[in-house]
């Protein structure tokens, strides 16, 4: 048995100590988890989705638990990119963990402006990369979600690509018929990596009031319930593209993370599980290391996509 192993991976040109990242929207701006997690130990931090202007978000209730999962309809409440730069990023400078900013917008122009602005401050503020959330509705195309259409995906990613040299991770939505075509479009448009899945659309109803339980009617389903769907899609995308894939969806224990890695994820993001166990990221990093050693795997990159079929 070996006694040391290498957990380092490279995603979109970003060098990570280990493959464990935090999923956007579930780890605040990092600082919230400082009482529980040594941020220096994380592979990377992806912060709450940011928009150009501050957003108020949806009215409550915004969260409903479902069997082994949860629905959320936060509505992208966030402080806006300027406040992010001024008030949130400075605090993160003291950690030597890559910070990736998850960006959202209603129009291509907004995405592009966000990418430009973050590019400008990237050196100074330690912005290592962007994760482009294309699960937002395109206001120009009557609410159609960018990430559900290959052409729209190409268009938006291509525009952002032209603006910035920052590493671009494109985050895919699972609510599509054929994720391979979307993944290909993102790759062709210049994405450096793909991350998936974002949440599945879901709803629940209060049978007493006969109203939807979420004020927003629908919400995004996350948590262990969605893991089988996420794993399948990660494997589909892994077989389709040549850029690294980041697995997300229902990871709550080390076995889950390993499943994603074996199915092709070079890194993973942990979302909902942070709410259940605030130290879950660290426990999973330690668990992966243990598994590699026990299985005589000297470098985690050997495990990536090693699924036998």
């Amino acid at each position: 048995m070996i006694d040391k192993t290498c957990l380092k991976v490279e995603i979109a040109g970003i060098k990570l100590k280990n493959p464990v990242m935090t999923a956007s929207g579930t780890f605040g701006y990092g600082q919230e988890y400082v009482p529980f997690v040594d941020l220096n130990r994380l592979g990377a931090m992806i912060l709450k989705g940011i928009t150009l202007k501050p957003k108020m978000g949806n009215p409550p209730p915004r969260i409903i638990e479902t069997p082994s999962g949860m629905l959320n309809a936060i509505g992208l409440q966030n402080v806006g990119v300027e406040m992010l730069i001024r008030e949130k990023l400075p605090y993160l400078q003291k950690f030597n963990t890559p910070v990736i900013i998850n960006i959202s917008g209603d129009t291509i122009e907004e995405y592009v402006e966000l990418a430009e602005r973050l590019g400008e401050v990237s050196k100074e503020m330690g912005v290592t990369g962007l994760e482009v959330n294309i699960s937002c509705p395109n206001v120009k195309k009557r609410g159609m979600v960018w990430g559900t259409d290959a052409k729209a995906t190409y268009e938006i990613i291509n525009s952002i690509r032209k603006t910035t040299s920052l590493p671009l991770i494109v985050k895919l939505t699972p609510n599509v018929t054929n994720i391979k075509t979307i993944a290909q479009a993102a790759e062709e448009a210049g994405a450096d990596a793909l991350s998936l899945i974002n949440t599945l659309v879901g709803m629940t109803v209060d049978i007493d009031s006969r109203k939807p339980k979420l004020a927003n009617i629908s919400g995004g389903l996350s948590g262990p319930a969605v893991k089988p769907v996420a794993l399948w899609l990660v494997w589909q995308v892994f077989q389709t593209v040549n850029i690294p894939v980041i697995g997300i969806g229902g990871i709550i224990k080390v076995e889950d993370a390993l499943e994603f890695i074996i199915a092709g994820a070079r890194a993973i993001e942990i979302g909902t599980a942070n709410f259940v166990n605030p130290r879950v990221t660290i426990e999973i990093i330690e668990g992966i290391e243990k598994y590699l050693i026990e299985n005589n795997i000297k470098d985690i990159n050997e495990l990536v996509g090693s699924m036998k079929i």
Binding site: T26, P35, M56, G57, P60, Q77
Partner: protein, 272 residues
């Protein structure tokens, strides 16, 4: 505010104090050190990941000497059902203490505490602290019926005057606890501060009464929570922001877990 801990604490005792409402005592010296009345803890109700999310419960009593905290909770769903089934000696996974806590002003002399149903949970620690600070405290509590009145004796033992309203009139005043509040004001017992916890409709009414009587009022709010520590933005409530420059009312969604759970009554926007 002190750092939030995530620790395992021993269940020292647990019992059903009135039908469907449980009192649980926990050994948690790390928490009692800094806990404030009005704060809560975020509990993993079962040993596995079902139900998935933690559940928030107010700190009912803080016994700094023994290093113990109490929670008082009502069984309403899966999480509270499983919590009630946990046995003495078990380790309970909690995060806390969380939130801002009640703000008792040094200058206040008279304190009115109003609790509706399980809403009395955070108020016992508040009562104890108020009395420790030498305030005169009156407590109004309400329940559906006599059998469901919680904490009456405990408040009285601390030295507070306690009045009860029951919906069906099976004990003391028949009607709403807000009747009692209005009554006490009419009789001239004017508190410097009102603290309240209970159903939204009750809180709304209490805030109205306090505004009319020009009494400062703080309420403890509830909202569904995921993280409990300000990271998910799930637990917001609508709060009026005093925007004095522009002279128009603005609204903001504030987090019950981090910015609350205690809010100034007059800031809260009730109708939505």
């Amino acid at each position: 505010m002190s750092a939030i801990l995530n620790i395992k604490v021993k269940i020292l005792s647990g019992k059903e104090v009135v039908p469907n409402i449980y009192l649980m005592r926990l050994k948690a010296p790390e928490i009692t050190q800094d806990a404030l009345s009005g704060q809560f803890i975020h509990i993993k109700c079962s040993k596995d990941n079902y139900p998935l999310l933690r559940r928030p419960f107010s700190i009912h009593r803080i016994d700094k000497e023994k290093g113990e905290i109490f929670i008082l909770f009502q069984v309403v769903g899966e999480g509270t059902k499983l919590l009630a089934q946990r046995v003495v000696g078990d380790d309970l996974d909690i995060m806390g203490p969380i939130g801002n806590g009640f703000n008792i002003y040094p200058e206040s002399r008279k304190i009115m505490i109003v609790g509706g149903g399980i809403g009395v949970a955070p108020l016992l620690a508040l009562c104890e602290e108020s009395i420790r600070q030498g305030k005169e405290v009156r407590v109004l509590i309400s329940a559906l019926k006599k059998e469901l009145v919680i904490g009456e004796e405990s408040f009285r033992n601390l030295g507070a005057k306690v009045d009860v309203a029951t919906d069906d009139g099976s004990y003391q005043h028949k009607g709403l606890v807000t009747d009692l509040l209005e009554g006490s004001i009419r009789e001239g017992w004017l508190a410097n501060q009102i603290f309240a916890c209970g159903p939204k409709s009750m809180l709304k009414k209490i805030v109205e009464i306090s505004l009319d009587a020009h009494i400062d009022c703080q309420v403890s709010l509830e909202e569904r929570m995921a993280c409990g520590i300000g990271a998910c933005l799930g637990c917001v409530c609508k709060i009026k922001t005093k925007d004095k420059k522009e002279d128009k009312v603005k609204y903001e969604f504030k987090k019950v877990c981090e910015d609350g759970p205690i809010f100034g009554g007059s800031e809260v926007v009730w109708d939505d």
